[in-house]
């Protein structure tokens, strides 16, 4: 602050003139810097960005936030590197390679950073990291979510370890903020190397199809190390991460669609762990009956149906924001509203692999359940599960410890938990799927529910081993267990309900459970089987 410091020392007349002249020049400089900051890396690079079908960092922020709501911070911050000619004026860009600040989405506060690919390829300098850390700290202080729009070539190589330090500073904050405020990453360009761990630590990672990549090492390094030929898209494109690796939670067609969807998604989330799940004005009658549900479960217990049909029919306005729709499709997770209130939906999907639980679906479900629990979002679970998937692939892959994650997550959760058994609830998987025994608040069974240790055929082979008349025994077993009574007479389900009344009943229960208070024993942190 040299100008301010100079003031008291100067004598009145001369300095007044000096002051006013200087003031003008500062004003001009401010204007100039602001203009430069708004242009990022310059018009040429902006055009190049557009040519690639990508928006600029500022355009993205503008589209994401409510009009005129963006309050920028650190527009004047510059990098401090003086090696390799970086100290030259032409290599200094006000604001450096990231745009940060706060704004509002549908009137609700959010902190945002948007990496600017037009400035040094969006590479992360110490200054860049400092800017991100600042808004993350603020977000934690006031309790508001952080959205990161990633579009960065990686570390600022000229800065060396300072850049690495920057990454670590961000990682630390990601971890500290985890479970305190929702953190969302939208990958809108490259994100490679150590940089990928920031999105990985956030609650949700979304990608833009064809223009975004996430990988630890690029195709060239892969080729030189493992001799594999792989394209960028195959290695870390949106399709790979939303279908194969499960790194990303959803992908969108282009920047505009991604940002508009992110706005929609944001509406489901509370601002912090201190806030209740948001309630939006609801036009769908909370006592609406859904007659279609009475016939949705097929008569043959081996025949599949689509769990999404049930979800759509029950939630407000058939509006369901599915998380990871193309990964581990044997479990369905996502956000919806009941009578306007955000809820998390977990459901086995009989249409895919009979809805069994395997490694990927357990991990997918567990992470989602823990998010809901951290942010006070009630969980509604639809159960139709024949059990855990058998086989060497699963056992060698560690289905035991991965399956335990889902069990752990449901057991640990203290938010309102409502469970509806639509058909099968077999074996250990019955216990796992938010059963009464894991502190389920309300557990319903449809008349088609079958709660048993296993299917009739397998059970009869064990109980009546070697006996004749297996068919008769099987019929007896079916009669005894292939119905909701064994669970209902023991109080393991609270009621057997007509499917058409499910929406009405859940809405009513959620109202009651809004004041639910449950606390787990004090601990430094729990030790989930990772």
């Amino acid at each position: 602050h040299p100008v301010v410091a100079a003031l008291p020392q100067s004598s009145s007349q001369r300095d007044c003139r000096w002051y006013s002249v200087s003031n003008l020049s500062v004003k001009e400089r401010i204007e100039k810097k602001r203009k430069a900051a708004l242009l990022g890396g310059g018009q040429k690079r902006i055009d190049a960005q557009h040519k690639k079908g990508k928006l600029t960092a500022r355009e993205r922020v503008e589209l994401l936030l409510d009009p005129e709501s963006f309050v920028e911070s650190d527009m004047f911050l510059e990098h401090r590197c003086s090696d390799f000619g970086m100290e030259q004026d032409k290599n200094k860009f006000p604001g450096d390679s990231v745009v940060t600040g706060r704004g509002r989405i549908n009137g609700r506060l959010v902190y945002v950073f948007s990496q600017d690919f037009t400035v040094f390829g969006g590479s992360l300098s110490g200054a860049h990291a400092q800017k991100i850390c600042k808004i993350m700290d603020q977000a934690m202080t006031v309790g508001a979510p952080v959205i990161g729009l990633n579009d960065s070539g990686g570390a600022r190589i000229q800065e060396g370890v300072e850049s690495l330090a920057g990454y670590a500073d961000i990682f630390l904050r990601n971890v500290l903020a985890s479970g305190v405020v929702p953190q969302i990453s939208l990958i809108m360009g490259p994100c490679a190397g150590g940089a990928v761990y920031s999105p990985a630590l956030t609650d949700f990672t979304f990608m833009v199809k064809d223009t975004s990549y996430l990988f630890i090492t690029g195709p060239d390094v892969v080729k030189s190390v493992t001799n594999e030929d792989v394209t960028q898209e195959e290695l870390g494109g949106a399709k790979t991460h939303t279908t194969v690796s499960g790194v990303a939670h959803r992908a969108f067609e282009n920047d505009v669609e991604a940002l508009l969807n992110l706005r929609e998604f944001f509406n489901f989330l509370p601002l912090s762990n201190q806030d209740p799940a948001p309630i939006r004005e609801c036009h769908d009658p909370n006592d609406r009956l859904v007659p279609a549900l009475d016939t949705i479960v097929p008569f043959e217990s081996t025949k599949a149906y689509d769990m999404l049909d049930i979800v759509h029919a029950i939630v407000d306005e058939r509006d369901f924001f599915e998380i990871m729709p193309n990964y581990a499709k044997n479990i369905v997770v996502g956000f919806a509203r009941m009578n306007g209130r955000t809820v998390g939906i977990v459901g086995n999907q009989p249409k895919v692999a009979s809805g069994c639980l395997d490694i990927n679906s357990s991990v997918k479900g567990a992470r989602f359940v823990r998010f809901c629990d951290a942010f006070n979002i009630p969980i509604i679970t639809f159960v139709d599960v024949p059990g855990f998937l058998p086989g060497t692939a699963q056992e060698y892959g560690g289905i035991i410890r991965h399956g335990a994650k889902l069990l752990y997550a449901f057991a640990e959760a203290t938010v309102p938990k409502i469970t509806v058994i639509t058909r099968k609830a077999y074996g250990g998987a019955y216990d796992v799927m938010s059963s009464k025994h894991l502190r389920g608040d309300v557990n319903y069974a449809w008349p088609t529910a079958e709660v048993a240790v296993m299917g009739a055929k397998g059970a009869v082979q064990i109980i009546f081993r070697g006996k004749e008349n297996q068919a008769e025994a099987e019929a007896e077993y079916v009669d005894k267990f292939a119905n909701p009574f064994p669970a209902a007479v023991r109080g393991f389900v609270d009621d057997i309900i007509e499917p058409s009344t499910t929406r009405k009943k859940i809405c009513r229960d959620l109202e009651v459970l809004a004041s639910k208070k449950q606390v787990n024993p004090w601990k430094k942190h729990a030790n989930i089987p990772l």
Binding site: N106, V256, L260, N261, I296
Partner: protein, 673 residues
């Protein structure tokens, strides 16, 4: 609007009142379709089995209930929770899903009759309704068949025999000559005897192949030359067929009703000219085309034919009518027709009730002069099919949302499905018969427009876009129709409603209003009271409702909201057709111009199944070279075989299906190189 000030509970109350007033009105209307009063002292049967499914089974059960008759439904295993099963007093499963093993399974149905003690069987239409074997087996066990006796079924079931009987009964048949014609002059003489225009073709050529139309002697000579050459060279069979050519034919049929005492009535006509692939789509009664004298002539001939075969029960005599109102016998259907409700609407008779009475042996109450034409009735067949593919290829699925427009007055919906029902590949894809009624044709048509706009069907593709276009088409409104209506009006296939500048504006305004409403609502987080949305331009509606009653520049429009997503894409059903509209803020629209266009999949090198069904045959294997138009495979769906052909010459890269396999819509069948 007013609702702003209303508390939620009051709003709900108002809604409840609305329904409360609709319900009785709806019933009253339904009764109004039948003017004849049921006579409770007339004993008919104690128990009737309905050997059918879907809407017609429900239709028959309704009348049985009115007459105090117990009902037995039969069903296949997949139909065990179908509406007709729920409506009936008893239900018997007669086999698995395929019709040949269930609804056509005579042994199982006979067993069902024995086990339930049903005294009579109503066969509905299709299935066993015109099966003389079934009628015989029933007779053998002393069970009454509600329909004509075996003799009439047999006589009318044979195309050639029925024409001979018709001729003998002095019913107009299409005049023609079939045999060897030696010279052109002989051909001219035959043509003159028949009367122009005539159609000339080789007898051996099937269908319309090599058909020539002659309007005068000169054209007859020319036609004779071509056809006789073709007959000799292509078929090695000299015979020629010279027949009266019916220009712009209309399909008009006469409903007859006869008892076992020799009395027969004609219940006026039904115009069924709007057809695709010989299947009726829109029917009306009466016809705009017939004058009273033609109507009487047709009616009397129909009755003559009925009497000639000692017909009893309800039946239909089909005629082709040319532009000069000459009419010619086509065939007689010895059953209750699909489109019978429109006859019921204008005559006030309950045809099912009459069939049951007649089957029991009662005489007809009515005399010919008692049969009125009251008003006008129109029927639209609402199908689960995609009208954009050759006017309708079957589609299947689950009715995730389903709301019939029965809250409107003078609307009758005959259906056998409900929300949650499956439209499967096993049965006819008809969803319902939507019938509207009015004092005049214009009234009935405008009611039909309303009814189609208010009809909520989600989960399956349906033909409402096509139905709405037909009934609002100027040619249809003026009554200028023929069996060629669809191919003539849509020579390049049906493309949906074509927007004009004004309707386009309406659509965009509606979509924008919907978008704004949902955007505004997004800002109402943590608002705990419920209130309905109202927009000045739009009237009152809710974001949750599938129906959007809008007022746009004082025009009332019923739009439907099909879907809406975060990226601003809104799909609206407007004037019957669904339109995709994208609503973006100014900023988003500007930025959207930078977004690259995604290249869609190259569809000329892959063949996907256009509909769900069973692969009947695969005609190619990998490595084969196919020519443009060559058959690649055949898919059967809902009793229809569809041949899929190559769109260009290519080598077959891989085949992904085999005969006997079930495929879904969009499944990859064959890849070309």
């Amino acid at each position: 609007m007013a609702s702003h000030g209303l508390s939620p509970s009051l709003n709900r109350l108002l809604l409840a009142l609305k329904y409360a007033t609709f319900q009785p009105r709806c019933c009253a209307v339904h009764k109004a379709h039948y003017s004849t009063v049921y006579n409770g002292n007339e004993k008919t049967f104690d128990k009737i089995l309905i050997a059918n499914r879907g809407e017609i089974a429900c239709r028959v059960i309704k009348t049985c209930k009115k007459m105090g008759i117990q009902t037995v439904a039969v069903h296949s295993d997949v139909d065990s929770s179908a509406v007709h099963v729920k409506m009936a007093d008893e239900a018997v499963c007669v086999g698995p899903a395929p019709t040949s093993k269930s609804y056509l399974n005579m042994d199982a149905i006979m067993d069902a009759i024995r086990s339930t003690g049903a005294q009579a069987v109503h066969p509905g239409y299709g299935f066993l309704s015109e099966n003389k074997e079934f009628a015989k087996r029933l007779a053998a066990e002393g069970v009454t068949f509600i329909g004509p006796d075996t003799h009439a079924i047999q006589a009318m079931g044979d195309k050639i025999e029925s024409k001979l009987i018709a001729k003998a009964a002095k019913v107009n048949t299409i005049p023609g000559f079939d045999g060897v014609v030696k010279t052109a002059e002989e051909a001219v003489k035959i043509a003159q005897d028949i009367g122009y225009p005539v159609m000339i073709k080789a007898s051996a050529g099937g269908g319309g192949k090599g058909m020539r139309i002659a309007w005068n002697n000169e054209e007859t000579r020319e036609g004779f030359r071509f056809s006789s050459q073709e007959a000799a060279s292509s078929f090695g069979d000299d015979r020629l067929l010279i027949e009266k050519y019916i220009d712009n034919p209309r399909h008009i049929e006469i409903q007859v009703l006869a008892d076992k005492h020799g009395n027969a009535l004609w219940l006026n006509e039904r115009e069924c000219s709007i057809q695709r692939r010989n299947q009726k789509v829109v029917e009306e009664a009466p016809s705009t085309f017939l004058d009273p004298s033609t109507r009487r002539a047709m009616g009397e001939q129909a009755v003559q034919l009925a009497k000639a075969v000692q017909y009893s029960s309800a039946g239909t005599v089909e005629f082709l009518v040319d532009s000069k109102k000459n009419f010619y016998f086509l065939e007689m259907n010895t059953r209750l027709q699909v489109e019978h409700p429109i006859t019921e609407c204008i005559t006030g008779l309950d045809l099912v009730e009459q069939m049951i009475r007649v089957a029991k042996g009662y005489k007809l109450h009515h005399k010919q002069e008692d049969i009125p034409i009251n008003g006008w009735a129109i029927e639209s067949r609402v199908y689960a099919e995609d009208p954009y593919k050759s006017f309708g290829l079957p589609s299947i699925g689950r009715l995730s949302q389903y709301q019939e427009p029965v809250n409107l007055c003078n609307v009758r919906v005959d259906s056998g499905i409900q929300e949650g029902s499956d439209i499967s590949i096993y049965y006819d894809p008809m969803i319902s018969k939507l019938v509207t009624y009015g004092a005049t044709r214009a009234e009935a048509l405008s009611k039909m427009e309303d009814a189609l706009d208010n009809y909520v069907i989600r989960g399956v593709t349906h033909n409402i876009p096509l139905l709405r276009e037909i009934i609002t088409h100027p040619r249809f409104i003026s009554g200028d129709i023929s069996t060629n209506f669809l191919p003539e009006v849509y020579p390049d296939g049906f493309k949906g409603h074509q927007l004009e500048a004004s309707t386009r504006r309406e659509l965009l305004a509606s979509a924008a209003a919907l978008h704004v409403a949902s955007q505004l609502r997004s800002q109402r987080i943590l608002v705990l009271y419920i209130r309905m949305f109202s927009l000045e331009v739009c009237g009152q509606w809710s974001l949750a409702s599938p129906l959007l009653p809008l007022t746009i520049n004082n025009t009332h429009r019923m739009l439907q909201s099909l879907s809406r997503d975060a990226s601003g894409e809104i799909v609206l059903q407007y004037l019957g057709t669904s339109f995709k509209v994208r609503v973006l803020s100014k900023l988003a629209a500007e930025l959207n111009s930078y977004m690259p266009e995604k290249v869609p999949e190259d569809t000329t090198s892959i063949l996907r199944s256009p509909m769900p069904g069973t692969v009947v045959a695969v005609s190619v294997k990998a490595g084969d070279t196919v020519a443009e138009g060559q058959e690649i495979c055949v898919i059967e769906a809902m009793k229809m075989q569809n041949s899929l052909t190559a769109v260009r010459q290519a080598k077959v890269k891989s085949v992904h299906c085999k005969a006997g396999e079930t495929v879904g819509e969009g499944d990859l069948l064959v890849e070309l190189e």
